[in-house]
């Protein structure tokens, strides 16, 4: 892998963001609105729900974690979509870039995009709602890491579809996370789901991540088994995501989508 090429692709997106104030505001705007909305919902449930009674911030913390996942996945997809929209796709794929370099550059760039959007939103939760996500303690790092890996993995799945099927796959890019959200058990325990969906949900790392967040905040118990399960599942999905991306690239070279997307 060449660091120079990874930096090159990173710079392509860094230049794009830093030169446009509306783009930066757009990155910050949605997470902030989302967090404020969930802040008020959280306040309401804390006051009127038995389950959330005296557990200030469970819903809001889960909303922040979910938004982090959402932003990292969308950021990864956006970087790919930017190339399609700007008709730069062909230029990118005739440059001597390895697939591993493209993935690495996008992983790093997606993290920065995600943090630009989410850090201001997290900072306002304390003065507005008296809640700090840091209450999760050290496990917070593992939860974020786990969510980031899963977000990137979803990004890889969607980008593979974009590579293979072109811009027609764009709508899937936007809706992919909404599809998983009900099964992710973000705001409720897995027991709420019907038996069949519980079995499906257990195959997703999200269930373990959000279960763990609630366990820490509601019961003040850290259960590293949940974190371990999430990482194991993440590893499997990430491996499949990378393999699928390579396969889609090879298929795109066979079917000619690299030229059609680029024009």
């Amino acid at each position: 892998m060449s660091l120079n090429r990874i930096i090159g692709l990173f710079l392509r997106h860094f230049f794009l963001i830093k030169s446009s104030l509306p783009r930066i505001l757009d990155l910050i705007y949605w997470p902030t609105i989302q967090i404020i909305l969930w802040g008020f919902i959280s306040k309401f449930f804390t006051t009127y729900s038995d389950y959330y009674n005296n557990t200030v911030g469970v819903i809001l913390t889960c909303a922040i974690l979910y938004d982090f996942l959402f932003r990292s996945s969308i950021s990864f997809n956006m970087l790919f979509l930017e190339e399609i929209w700007s008709r730069n796709f062909t230029n990118l794929f005739i440059a001597p870039m390895r697939i591993s370099e493209i993935i690495t550059a996008l992983v790093g760039t997606a993290l920065i995009r995600t943090l630009i959007g989410l850090v201001p939103a997290i900072l306002i939760t304390s003065p507005l709602f008296g809640i700090s996500i840091l209450n999760l303690g050290i496990p917070l790092f593992f939860l974020f890491l786990s969510l980031y890996i899963f977000g990137i993995t979803l990004g890889l799945f969607v980008s593979s579809g974009l590579l293979r099927y072109g811009p027609a796959f764009e709508n899937i890019a936007w809706s992919s996370l909404f599809l998983l959200a009900p099964l992710g058990c973000i705001y409720y325990p897995i027991e709420i789901l019907p038996d069949f969906f519980q079995n499906v949900a257990k195959g997703l790392p999200l269930v373990y991540i959000f279960e763990e967040a609630r366990s820490i905040l509601v019961n003040q118990v850290v259960n590293y088994t949940n974190i371990k399960n999430a990482f194991i599942l993440n590893g499997i999905y990430l491996f499949i995501g990378i393999a699928l991306f390579y396969y889609s690239f090879s298929q795109a070279r066979k079917k000619g989508s690299l030229i059609n997307i680029g024009e």
Binding site: N4, F15, T90, F93, A95, K255
Partner: protein, 245 residues
């Protein structure tokens, strides 16, 4: 004469349709080879296979003695491409775009290279402007700068002067002519501008329906077909071919 590019029995089929059928040709070092043919005749498909963007159904492309399918990344360092159908990111300045591509191609002294290309291609006055704000003539010169950022030994030019005014078109043609001699490049030029092809190309390939239907120097082709210019040869060959089809 050293052959930089050898295309051997190259074919590409999409589903059951053959886009390119068993074509063979070579490009010598320091040669500009013209590729002519109507829209949809297989020119872009051929170039895409030569760039490694498309996997051939059969046959192979050998560049500097290496098969593109097996040495894609290392060969792409020595190649580049421009086409009016692809663009550079519009929101980035000209300089930023050249920095990005300098990095992607592993150029060692990027600033010096950009300065050199800016002078040669007269980019200085708009080097810090957003690429999307440029006129088509300026964009074309920027694309050419991007295509030369890695000092390629093989260059693919797909309609490099399409939609340019005569003055800019002439500037670009003169530049291509000069740089190909100076740098001993091998260039494949796909164009619909017959005067341009006659001026720049030593040899010409005529394509239709995915096959090469004739080849030779522009003068030989004009003489052989008893026509006054390359455009008439082009029309005659294509009409004959379409009637046969």
């Amino acid at each position: 004469m050293q052959k930089s590019v050898i295309v051997e029995n190259l074919s590409k089929s999409y589903f059951k349709k053959e886009a390119v059928r068993e074509i063979s040709f070579a490009i010598n070092e320091n040669e500009i080879l013209g590729l002519l043919g109507p829209n949809g005749c297989g020119k872009t498909t051929t170039i895409a296979m030569m760039l490694g963007l498309l996997k051939p159904s059969s046959g192979r492309v050998v560049i500097h003695g290496l098969d593109i399918e097996k040495n894609r990344i290392s060969l792409l360092h020595k190649m580049n491409f421009i086409s009016p159908y692809i663009e550079l990111p519009k929101k980035l300045s000209v300089k930023e775009n050249l920095i990005v591509y300098g990095k992607l191609y592993g150029v060692k002294f990027i600033s010096e290279r950009i300065e050199y290309l800016s002078k040669k291609l007269r980019l200085e006055e708009f080097i810090n402007k957003k690429t999307g704000e440029l006129s088509s003539g300026q964009k074309n010169r920027v694309s050419l700068a991007k295509a030369l950022i890695n000092e390629p030994t093989i260059l693919f030019l797909d309609e490099p002067t399409a939609s340019l005014d005569p003055e800019t078109g002439d500037f670009v043609r003169s530049f291509i002519e000069k740089i190909s001699k100076e740098k001993k490049m091998s260039i494949l030029l796909a164009s619909h501008n017959m005067d341009e092809v006659k001026r720049l190309c030593k040899n010409v390939l005529m394509m239709n329906n995915g096959v090469i239907i004739d080849k030779g120097t522009p003068d030989d082709l004009i003489k052989k077909h008893g026509k006054r210019n390359l455009e008439e040869v082009f029309l005659k060959l294509n009409r004959n071919n379409n009637e046969l089809k």
